[in-house]
């Protein structure tokens, strides 16, 4: 199988901030790789290096067989990029935006116009086609931006946090659109902060932290490594903590986590946890543990991070602010 995106040893520093520290990745043709990580993990920097927006300090990369550093223009004609912030001109209508992009891909005026109409129809934007895009909702703007990335039908697509900041419904719509694209055989590199998103859309997930890959695998492989669903318990009385901890440990795939106030416990369980949940409830009854709330939830990126690194996924900025706040205290 042909490798459509390949990066090796990508390194980029901004002053003392090490945004990328030797990142390697490969995406085979027709596959989807998700880069999963918190803000400041280096996802956007990686995307910018691969899409020729940024020159890495060290390392090399190839997209669709073209060297990113030696032939950036060649790369640009083979990729479609949709960024974290919808890169559309707010004064132009949806149609005008897409025609402009098509003409800058050198499709020719007539073909650019035809392609703009096709894409507007495909992304359910036909009704809004002749309205300035500043009147669009957040979800519509993202769809327009994604349409912009598809104008030249590039073999490689790069989507940088395509659903960050969208409401649940727009996110769902975006997922449907992306799934359809992948079904059509595009090779896709996607960055996200949501495990669920990576799980739904990607064949392969790479977890990155401080500009390095810390784990890689399919969603199932990652779950096997970091535990599946979580059972979360809120105790009525902190005195029941030890008993609750004992019961949860019987089903847990890893150490049971206890919150600072001693009343909230979280246990990662193997696979789907409904059977385990039942056993925990029975155990609580036996030990007469009273709970205010108990539930099963899917693992999030934070859980994956905690399991892999032993610390919560905090973004750089939040960490810095916290250190500053602690310093001033």
């Amino acid at each position: 199988m042909t490798t459509m995106i390949r990066a090796s040893g990508l390194t980029k520093h901004y002053g003392s901030v090490k945004a990328l520290q030797g990142l390697d990745l490969e995406v085979p043709e027709g596959k989807v790789l998700a880069l999963l990580g918190p803000n400041g993990a280096g996802k956007t920097t990686a995307v910018r290096c691969l899409t020729t927006l940024l020159v890495p300090d060290a390392g090399s990369a190839e997209v669709a067989g073209v060297d990113v550093l030696k032939d950036p223009v060649g790369v640009r004609s083979r990729i479609g990029l949709s960024g974290q912030y919808a890169a559309v001109d707010e004064h132009l209508t949806g149609y005008e935006n897409l025609v402009m992009v098509g003409r800058l891909y050198h499709l020719g005026k007539a073909r650019a116009q035809e392609r703009a109409r096709e894409l507007l129809a495909r992304f359910s934007l036909t009704d809004a086609a002749d309205r300035p895009s500043k009147t669009y909702s957040g979800g519509m703007r993202r769809r327009l931006d994604l349409a912009g990335a598809l104008v030249a039908e590039p073999p490689v697509l790069v989507l940088d946090e395509p659903t960050t900041g969208l409401d649940v419904r727009s996110r769902q719509e975006m997922w449907d659109v992306i799934r359809e694209l992948v079904g059509g055989g595009s090779t896709l590199l996607l960055t996200t902060q949501y495990l669920e998103e990576a799980d739904k859309l990607a064949d392969d997930i790479m977890v990155i932290d401080h500009g390095r890959a810390i784990a890689q695998g399919t969603a199932d492989e990652l779950k096997a490594q970091t535990g599946g669903e979580r059972i979360e318990v809120v105790l009525a009385d902190a005195e029941d903590r030890d008993a609750a901890h004992r019961v949860l440990t019987e089903v847990a795939a890893a150490d049971v986590l206890v919150s600072n106030n001693g009343r909230e416990l979280t246990a990662a369980v193997h696979g789907s946890g409904t059977g385990d949940l039942l056993r925990v409830l029975q155990g609580f009854e036996r030990e007469t543990v009273t709970v205010l709330d108990i539930g099963l939830r899917r693992p999030t990126m934070d859980d994956v991070f905690l399991a892999l690194t032993g610390r919560p996924a905090e973004d750089e900025q939040a960490t810095q602010e916290k250190t500053q706040a602690e310093a001033t205290r």
């Binding site: 640009r76 912030y85 890169a87 402009m100 800058l104």
Partner: protein, 266 residues
């Protein structure tokens, strides 16, 4: 990448910028009102206070200066437009497209020529109303307008470079005010060069805004009997101004393109 490519891509970007004029006509209204205000303010408020030594009617003398000041200020639009593109993220879209890397800059500076043409028309009409006249023939007058536009185009490239460097639109507006205000006021645009002394006089006579003003004043036939300072720059104002145009384009053209290639949205 070929020059033709840069021009066709640049034209696509220029069209995009011009659509904004259509969508937000308020911008244009303000662009056009401020020169009218300047013409009226100087023609009626300061005319009596500024001494032209009886060599020329002040209103006649003034208009070329207002033209020069307005088109030079107009270059701020170039910088502000680019700073806005960076802030809004669309620069990332452009940079990820296989287009010529000078197209965004060519497009922006070109669309700003349109702004300047419109404001020159409005100012000329206002000037005619307050008594300004073209006295030296049509061809010379066209040459005068062309020189104003060419010089403004060169300043646009300076502002393009600044626009790619600054963090926001507000910064560029303030920064350009600090630079352009002294350049246009410490010149012969509003008062005769002879009213300055010493170092200021030297600055005024070699300031390209002065020579631009002097050149268009002479091309419109508005210099009257006003003595021309005895420096090479003021004696050859068209040539001296064009030399500046060449230098600015040669320096800031490549500098801006290089900066554009390195830049990403904020």
């Amino acid at each position: 990448m070929s020059t033709t490519q840069a021009l066709t891509d640049g034209w696509v970007v220029a069209q995009r910028n011009l659509i904004k004029i259509k969508r937000v006509p308020e911008i244009l209204v303000f662009v056009l009102i401020s020169p009218i205000m300047f013409v009226l303010l100087f023609a009626y408020v300061f005319a009596g206070a500024i001494d032209t030594g009886g060599n020329v009617d002040y209103k006649e003398f003034l208009i070329a200066g207002i033209f020069a000041q307005t088109v030079v200020f107009g270059a701020t639009f170039t910088g502000a437009g680019l700073a806005e593109d960076m802030q809004k993220g669309i620069i990332d879209r452009f940079r990820s497209l296989p287009m010529s890397s000078s197209a965004v800059l060519v497009g922006r500076t070109t669309s700003d020529v349109v702004y300047n043409v419109l404001s020159l028309i409005i100012m000329a009409l206002t000037g005619l109303l307050v008594g300004w006249r073209i006295r030296d023939g049509f061809v010379d007058a066209v040459a005068g307008f062309a020189l104003l536009l060419v010089f403004a185009y060169a300043i646009s490239w300076v502002m393009a470079y600044v626009g790619l460097l600054v963090p926001s639109v507000e910064v560029i507006n303030n920064a350009s005010f600090i630079v352009i205000m002294p350049l246009t006021f410490v010149s012969n645009a509003f008062v005769p060069a002879s009213s300055f002394d010493g170092l200021l006089y030297t600055f005024v006579t070699w300031n390209p805004v002065s020579t631009l003003t002097q050149a268009s004043r002479e091309l419109f036939g508005n210099n009257g009997n006003m003595p021309v300072p005895d420096t090479w720059s003021m004696q050859h104002p068209v040539l001296y101004t064009l030399i500046w145009v060449g230098i600015l384009l040669a320096v800031f053209g490549p500098l801006s393109v290089r900066q554009y290639r390195r830049t990403t949205s904020r």
